[in-house]
Symmetry: C2
Subunit: 249 residues, 2 copies
DNA sequence: GAAAATTTGTTCGTATGTATC
DNA sequence: CGATACATACGAACAAATTTT
């Protein structure tokens, strides 16, 4: 059927072709997007002013509608923020994990990735994060972990609230790893499964979980990497076994 | 405001006020985006037809420009594909890691995440992926790993090509973990650092790396989880130490 | 291979809602 | 409160790309 395929040949074999960057698309708005994107990665900071739509239209020599196409795309990618009214216009956006979470969710949905795979991925990463936290957590980061534990302790009788603070504990540990890339990915994974969680922990189960959390925290504070990793590994493994459908704490 | 479009307020019923999704924005196009997004997560598949811009404009009772705003956003999020010409229009997109990679890159840039953090995250995840691969890799997945090794063996004299196939080895191991969430994230991390890598491995260094890759492969084939994890852990640790600026192999 | 039909890409003009001063 | 600045939204039209005839 497709004897001849003229155009964007995607050679999977040629590894050098991977360098290949599509600077030029069939749309004018893609040029605009590309240029602003380049400027972004070349040092623009949150809050930096980019101009109004009309200004940009003049500067790029295109109509306002074309600029709008570009703006909507840049906005969806989390690069710019748009405000109406006087002193409105385009500015470089602030970081927003939501963008990243959404992108991950969309792609995993398209790939047909299962719920349990997301959990499994989280379970794989968390012990490593715990070990990293034990190695290098700052006082401030430890404080956040401690807060999450304290709050969940107050909420042992409220399954929903307890689950929420348990989740915060895990995210705080990831943050304490000191690696923001890891942290961002764990937030994405945890957030994705949150809507599917049904908190049904009984109080004694909550207390048991709380105890493990406290032990993990102690290991991190003590700087015991192996212990932190092992405890977290057992923890997520158990949780997964006990709650095959809602395995996050 | 438009009295016409008051309908689609979707109450996420009940208790979960924390689930709290902003169904209602100040833009009409956000309503459209939200509805199509909901439909997407409720079972639309790659290739499914959504209609033309004009059709959608009629169906939603808005102008074509408003639909275009929505379309650009949905496209940027990787949800739809747009094609011009007869039988063109909107379709549900195929999965494209590129979207996810871009979103991660944008967010990490905004967060000011350093290059070494990205590498460190990768180094944290890979040993776990290797262990998982040892547990459950399929024949087809192992084949891909073997191919990457064979290709890199052929390229020991060509630093650039060798680096590329070494990277493919690592990605193939991640795929062999059987967890597509983990796989997707490692692709993103590896791709992000690729532009900054400077392949400068000498031939004997390449041969040494190759030997380790082969050992890891053997451990995976043998189903030896601990060995696979340990070998990979040592490997990434060494690589990071030897090439502090270009530490990926 | 050429012409026709379809559909997005792009432009201009205009009106309206909204935030700032 | 009024004036100003700006994005949001509508309508009509033509250009360019792609498939079908």
């Amino acid at each position: 059927m497709l004897a001849v395929q003229v155009g964007p040949l995607k050679e999977e074999d040629d590894v050098d072709a991977a360098q290949w960057k599509p600077v030029r698309g069939s749309r004018v708005s893609e040029d605009v997007i590309h240029q602003i994107r380049e400027a972004f990665f070349n040092g623009l900071q949150t809050g930096d002013w980019l101009g109004t739509e009309t200004e940009l239209a003049e500067r790029f020599g295109v109509s306002r509608i074309t600029i709008r196409d570009a703006v909507r795309t840049l906005e969806a990618r989390g690069i710019v923020d748009v405000k109406v009214g006087a002193r409105g216009g385009l500015r470089i956006a602030a970081s927003d994990p939501e963008r990243f979470i959404d992108a991950l969710a969309v792609q995993l949905h398209l790939m047909g990735v299962t719920f349990s795979e997301v959990i499994e991925a989280q379970c794989a990463i968390e012990p490593v994060a715990a070990a990293m936290a034990a190695r290098q957590a700052t006082a401030e980061q430890l404080e956040k972990v401690a807060t999450a534990i304290a709050k969940s302790e107050e909420a042992v009788g409220d399954p929903k609230l307890f689950t929420e603070w348990s989740l915060q504990f895990h995210i705080a540990v990831a943050e304490a790893s000191g690696n923001r890339a890891l942290h961002a990915m764990l937030i994405a994974l945890a957030t994705m499964q949150k809507p599917k969680m049904s908190p049904r922990a009984s109080e004694w189960r909550a207390r048991r979980v709380l105890k493990v959390h406290q032990e993990i925290y102690a290991a991190i504070v003590a700087g015991d990497e192996d212990k932190a990793r092992t405890l977290m590994d057992d923890h997520v493994r158990n949780v997964r076994k006990e709650h095959p459908e809602a395995p996050l704490l």
